[in-house]
């Protein structure tokens, strides 16, 4: 090959290399170079959207593991447990403004998820307190997971409804006493705690018994459906108190498969705790589900230990 021929080939390929480079330049810089109509999106914007989409998918997965138990499948909230988060005023910033938060909406969500709340904001309306999730505050989630959750929650923005999640306190106070206690006096659940909670159960609950048999297969199946949906996130699929959300909780959820613990928990007290929640812990009151549903869950829960 003559020198000049080699140089020619070299120059041709050098020029050819400009084709892919120009393609990349148009893809990545199309917007900055003014090559795109306003409704077109560049390759780089598409990539950014794809990564955002993946983050939302990750957030949806985390929500399905940790959050739906209290905030509902679609963020609609569960009365008496936790407020709706799929609601317009929270996602467009009005709620943040109302409580005096001067930062952005996503920063509010991120901080709330990461740090949690030391006490329930409105124990009269929502008994469960938001646990700490961010691992920088001792929770189980990495920062990128908190970010993914925020992206997922913000993705509700477009279709969010106006929901009144914070009705005025006066009405709620009339309905029942606000069960705020000093932390020192709060009984801890777990084995001994359950007993102290059982000492003075309110009269309507004393001696209550289920209308179903403990080995009724249909009841157990119905109870399992509700349990898997509402309880398994914290108490674990097998009742050992090791659900995915349990890591964030202090005190830890009760181990329903523990025989000695369950023996100390009579049926009526068990029903009372499920109905009214366990004060000083993340266990919310589930009265709103209706007595029938709660009995089914209770029977299913007691099948873990076999204690009737």
């Amino acid at each position: 090959m003559s020198t000049q021929f080699k140089i020619l080939i070299g120059i041709i390929f050098t020029l050819l290399t400009c084709v892919p480079l120009a393609t990349i330049a148009v893809n990545d810089l199309g917007r900055d170079l003014g090559l795109l109509a306003p409704d077109e999106i560049s390759g780089m914007e598409r990539r950014a959207a794809a990564l955002k989409g993946r983050e939302i998918e990750v957030g949806a997965d985390l929500y399905g593991q940790y959050c739906y138990g209290c905030h509902g499948k679609h963020g609609e909230g569960i009365p008496g447990v936790a407020p709706a988060i799929n609601r317009k005023d929270l996602l467009d910033g009005r709620r943040e403004k109302a409580i005096g938060w001067s930062g952005s909406v996503d920063a509010f969500l991120r901080n709330t998820i990461a740090a949690g709340r030391p006490v329930s904001s409105r124990p009269d309306l929502y008994a469960a307190k938001m646990p700490t999730w961010g691992n920088q505050y001792g929770g189980p989630m990495r920062p990128d997971q908190v970010d993914a959750l925020v992206s997922f929650v913000l993705n509700w923005q477009a279709g969010a409804l106006e929901v009144d999640a914070w009705s005025p306190p006066a009405a709620a106070v009339a309905a029942g006493p606000a069960p705020t206690r000093a932390p020192g006096t709060a009984p801890t659940p777990g084995a001994p705690g359950a007993f102290t909670q059982c000492v003075n159960i309110p009269a309507p609950y004393v001696g209550k018994k289920p209308a179903y048999r403990f080995d009724d297969k249909a009841i157990l199946a119905a109870g399992k459906t509700i349990y898997d949906d509402k309880c398994a996130a914290c108490h674990g699929a097998n009742g050992r108190g090791d659900g995915p959300a349990a890591a964030a909780l202090n005190p830890k959820p009760a181990n329903l498969a523990d025989k000695s613990f369950m023996q100390g928990l009579p049926v009526d007290c068990h029903f009372y705790l499920v109905s009214e929640g366990v004060k000083g812990s993340a266990m919310p009151p589930w009265k709103a589900l209706g007595e029938d549903a709660l009995w089914k869950v209770l029977i299913y829960e007691r099948s873990f230990s076999g204690v009737q």
């Binding site: 080939i9 290399t17 480079l21 990545d28 939302i56 998918e57 949806a60």
Partner: protein
């Protein structure tokens, strides 16, 4: 430039010569002949300055010679200034003045050593730019990858090139070694060059592997966790295993410390080592021994052939232009491939609590994983123990032997190749020869090793020997948690057919798989997918009908697609069966969310 001339000067002779010549120039401007003279002098001076500049830059060649060089003409000045360059210039002095003609034949070397060096430079350049955007911090590393892809112009492209270059570098370095082995180029006097080459192979593997961790995604985290877990079993485990694990991972598991160590290894330690050994290796090749000649010519009985093979081919301009041409072609190929048909994978953020199904080592370490799975040696040793009574099983069956000691021995053997070869020739008292016909044993061993390497790499892939419970495998086939990298480098990864259908291709509904057993001829893609799923489920049901343990009895599949959020769908694959063993739940569920924009390729 500044010469004194006879002219009517208003200045005394004591004036600076510069001013005097300026005056004479001005004086010249007044007459026609003077202007012609001045023009000529200016051109001459200009040429001189330009020529001097070119001489300085090219370290010895004037303009005329540079022109002649690139035109392919013979040198203009005498003595030949093209040789002067090699003593005057640093970058030329590390290149040889000439190559022996036959050593530059393409089919002899395939340019593999050259290509190895080229990929190293490409990696260095793209790597240096990527370092600007990368943060080696466990909570931010993945975020910086996202930023490189989504916000940095040419960011994804650089990453793609860096990845392509890395895979190519391992491949090319390996092929280079194979070529050198097959042509017998490692033989006397190039034994030590081979040793530095094996060191470079190890450094290359180290460079590639240490870069594997940096994206900090699931792929990175688990591939490196598997690899470093091998270091843990280095004997004696309580001392060496403990120390090497601690040194590599910076703790019990890979975390911030491990990431920083791999990062520094990747950007400082290993590149510096590579540069040192490339320098030694290259010096020995280019200045000490030259590239080997084809054996058939070097050892030819015909002196004319031997003489012709050694004819000189000057580096300037023959080799230089050839190299520049190949650089242009190779860069075009790499850039085009990276731009149009390859994207470096980025999986989900690393999660120490979530082990992906079927994690594998990078493809170039699959053979070690294959040895650990071991389809043959262990059964043979067991046979020995049971029938002959020689018990090697308890000795052999440990990760220390299979994951550390055997690979180490293999590399030690590689180092020793030229010396063992020499010993073998001396043992039989025959002259050393590089010709294939005189190296039957060597070539047989070479091809056999190559075959075993490929075979064990195959054993290392998930295609061989591992399987999760059948329902889990079905879930993995259609909805893998992460996109699955193929065991062959630079092929696109497989993200499963559900993700491939994407948001638009998944209309909401509950699909009972039984109803989709056979697709109509013009079925929608979803229908075809459901048929395929039903096929897998039915297969398991059938297997269960024939066996008491295998398969899934009365298996039924459901595929549920729900509109979950704006632009987000929830996809659930549920398989139920009749449990036959205690602890069998009789149900499997795999959930995946699919966003409209999240393109998986």
């Amino acid at each position: 430039m500044f010469e004194r001339k006879e002219h009517p000067a208003p200045f005394s002779d004591k004036m600076p010569v510069g001013l005097q010549s300026l005056w004479s120039a001005l004086h010249d401007l007044r007459t026609k002949e003077g202007r012609a003279r001045l023009g000529k002098a200016t051109r001459a001076t200009g040429w001189q300055v330009a020529d001097d500049t070119v001489r300085a830059v090219s370290a010895g060649m004037g303009i005329a010679d540079v022109r002649a060089l690139f035109r392919g003409d013979p040198p203009v000045e005498k003595p030949n200034p093209r040789y002067k360059v090699f003593t005057n210039a640093f970058f030329a002095h590390i290149r040889p003045r000439y190559y022996e003609k036959s050593s530059t034949k393409f089919t002899h070397t395939f340019g593999l050593g050259f290509l190895s060096a080229l990929t190293f430079f490409i990696e260095a350049i793209t790597g240096l730019i990527l370092m600007v955007f990368y943060i080696p911090e466990q909570d931010r590393a993945y975020q910086s990858m996202v930023k490189i892809i989504a916000e940095v112009p040419f960011g994804q492209f650089l990453r793609d090139i860096h990845r392509v270059g890395a895979e190519l570098m391992v491949l090319v370095v390996f092929l280079h070694m194979v070529r050198v082995y097959l042509t017998g180029s490692f033989k006397h006097p190039r034994q030590f060059t081979w040793v530095t080459g094996v060191i470079l192979l190890i450094i290359t593997l180290g460079l590639s592997y240490s870069g594997y961790l940096l994206p900090w995604d699931q792929l990175a985290y688990w591939a490196v966790t598997i690899g470093t877990s091998m270091a843990k079993s280095a004997p004696p485990k309580e001392i060496m295993g403990y120390i090497s694990n601690l040194m590599l991972r910076g703790g019990d598991t890979i975390g911030q410390n491990g990431l920083l160590r791999f990062y520094l290894g990747h950007v400082i330690l290993l590149p510096v080592l590579a540069m040192i050994f490339i320098a030694v290796h290259y010096y020995r090749v280019s200045r000490l021994h030259g590239i080997s000649l084809p054996a058939s010519e070097e050892e030819s009985p015909d002196p004319a052939v031997r003489k012709q093979a050694k004819e000189r081919l000057d580096y300037l301009p023959e080799i230089l232009t050839k190299e520049l041409m190949w650089i242009a072609i190779a860069v075009f190929a790499i850039v085009g491939f990276a731009a149009f048909s390859f994207h470096a994978p980025l999986e989900h953020h690393s999660d120490p609590y979530r082990t992906p199904l079927h994690t594998t080592a990078p493809w170039y370490f699959l053979w070690i994983q294959g040895m650990l799975k071991d389809p043959w040696v262990l059964p043979i040793l067991r046979g020995l123990r049971d029938f002959v009574g020689i018990d090697l099983v308890q000795f052999y069956d440990s990760p220390a032997i299979q994951g550390i000691i055997l690979p180490t021995l293999i590399f030690l053997l590689l180092f020793g190749v030229p010396y063992l070869d020499e010993f073998w020739d001396k043992f039989w008292g025959r002259p050393s020869s590089r010709m294939g016909k005189n190296r039957k044993l060597g070539l047989t061993i070479g091809f056999a090793s190559l075959f075993l390497l490929i075979l064990f790499s195959y054993f290392g892939t998930p295609l061989f020997g591992v399987s999760a419970p059948p329902a889990v495998e079905i879930g993995q086939e259609f909805i893998p948690e992460e996109c699955v990298l193929p065991p062959i480098p630079l092929l696109p990864d497989n993200c499963g057919e559900v993700r491939r259908l994407g948001y638009e291709g998944l209309p909401a509904g509950t699909y009972e798989l039984e109803k989709y057993a056979a697709p109509p001829p013009d079925a929608a893609p979803l229908h075809n997918l459901l048929t395929k799923m039903q096929g897998r489920v039915a297969e398991q049901a059938e297997r269960a009908a024939q066996s008491d343990v295998a398969g899934l009895a009365d298996a039924k599949g459901f595929f549920v697609i729900e509109d979950w959020q704006s632009d987000l769908k929830k996809v659930t694959l549920r398989i139920t069966w009749t449990p036959r063993a205690p602890g069998d739940t009789g149900a499997f569920e795999k959930i995946v969310y699919v966003h409209r924009d999240s393109a998986y390729e």
